[in-house]
Amino acid sequence: MDSYQLPQFNRDIHIALLKNVSNASQIRSRIIIAASIPSPQGDAEREAINFAFIDPRLLTSALHIKTAIYQALLNEHQASLRTKSVHSEILWALNPNNNITEAIRRFGVSDSCTSLLIVRISSPDLNDVEAKIKSIVSGDIVPLSQLETLTDWATIKKYYKLNGEPVLEEVAGDTQRERAVLDNIVVSSVAMKTVMQ
């Protein structure tokens, strides 16, 4: 698990990558149910699952998710969140277009997920994040550096509309370079999403 602080936002960021996840569909239905319980009864349940659940197959690198987190925090601070929470804003920031449902369907947890990337943005006084994650997800926490082994490059190319771009012809045949170039473009798209149109 990777934790770091962004003092300019007065926030702590916790990122955990989990493999061998066996209860993805249960988590998904739990999120949906929690959202429909009225306040105040639902508040405890909503707090329990107050994380961003992301499909790591659609992430190219740690920088990719950190960039989305940063842009989501900026949107939150400027009171320009497009979605209802900073956690869902991360999913929105990852998706190249403005369709929130599509962002959640593509980048969020799906029933077929066997690995998950979990992000918690919190005030600096939140403790035991790892324990909280373990109580929701059954799986093994692995180092964030293993993210690259899970990436589904073909789907990334499709979602970020990179097929047929001239740059890919240039690096064709050199897988390592192609991935570095793709990662750079994908990170750049996330970073500049708010000024794309």
Partner: protein, 270 residues
């Protein structure tokens, strides 16, 4: 659902980030900094290059915000278009258009201007060249290129090829100078590439005129910063011609000759 503690209301986060960064240079439009965006407990943090278009007191605040926002957006879009077209430019790392901030990849290297011994650079990274006068400069020309494993000719071809790729994507840089070209220090992990930087004056245009003027601006920059550089610039144009193809070069090359005669402003109005 949202976290309970209020966000720090005293200062916009991007300005706090800047106040904790190392200043690199300042111009009339913007200041540039070296910052760390994502601190990490594991591994060494990665630096980014931050360009901050500060508030201009001489403009009406509303106009200032709109202009700044549009320019940050324009620069980011030009970079994105270049990235997708395979032009070597720094990747985008963060954008805060309302504060006028664009963060891009940090390129650790030297500007082509410094490598060609182009004298005082306003970025101040080649001060050592100034101190010892002309003779040392001549010597340094070859020496500075040696760590990169490049000859001057190869460097010129790389410049021509990058500009050609950019023009094929219909991106016009607007401020092509040798200071706006960076050569990263060689590393075993990747090849030596030439990066075009500073797209602050860029725009997209498919017009021959704009491409010819872009090349003309570079030619003037070459001749004013590097004496006896016409042979060097000819190498740049050779590589450009090769990359864009005979047909396109026929048109742009002819127009470049016209521009040389009349200067970069086509119309004499204003």
């Amino acid at each position: 659902m949202s976290p309970t503690t209020p966000l720090n209301p005293t200062s916009p986060p991007t300005l706090t980030l800047i106040s904790n960064s190392t200043p690199v240079a300042q111009g009339a439009e913007a200041k540039v900094y070296k910052s760390i965006l994502h601190p990490s407990r594991e591994g060494s943090p990665v630096s980014i290059f931050v360009k901050y278009r500060f508030t201009k007191q001489y403009r009406h605040p509303t106009l200032d915000t709109n202009l700044t926002r549009a320019r940050v957006a324009g620069e980011a879009r030009a970079l994105m278009k270049c990235l997708r077209s395979g032009v070597n430019v720094p990747g985008i790392r963060m954008v805060d258009a309302s504060e006028g901030v664009l963060g891009t990849e940090w390129i650790e290297g030297k500007s082509v201007r410094a490598l060609l011994g182009g004298g005082a650079d306003d970025e101040g990274d080649d001060d050592e060249l100034l101190e010892d006068g002309q003779d040392t400069q001549e010597l340094l020309e070859e020496d500075t290129l040696k760590p990169f494993g490049l000859s001057q000719d190869t460097l010129m071809s790389m410049i021509g090829t990058e500009i050609a790729k950019m023009h094929l994507a219909d991106v016009i840089h607007g401020d092509l100078t040798t200071s706006n070209m960076m050569l990263p220090f060689p590393s075993p992990s990747h090849l030596t590439l030439l990066y075009l930087v500073d797209f602050g004056l860029s725009f997209t245009s498919p017009l021959t005129e704009d491409k010819a003027v872009d090349l003309y601006v570079l030619e003037r920059a070459f001749s004013s910063t590097h004496p006896d550089s016409s042979a060097l610039f000819a190498r740049v144009l050779d590589a450009y011609a090769k990359r864009v193809g005979e047909k396109e070069w026929g048109v742009v090359g002819r127009r470049l000759d016209d521009v040389r005669l009349r200067g970069r402003k086509r119309s004499m109005v204003g």
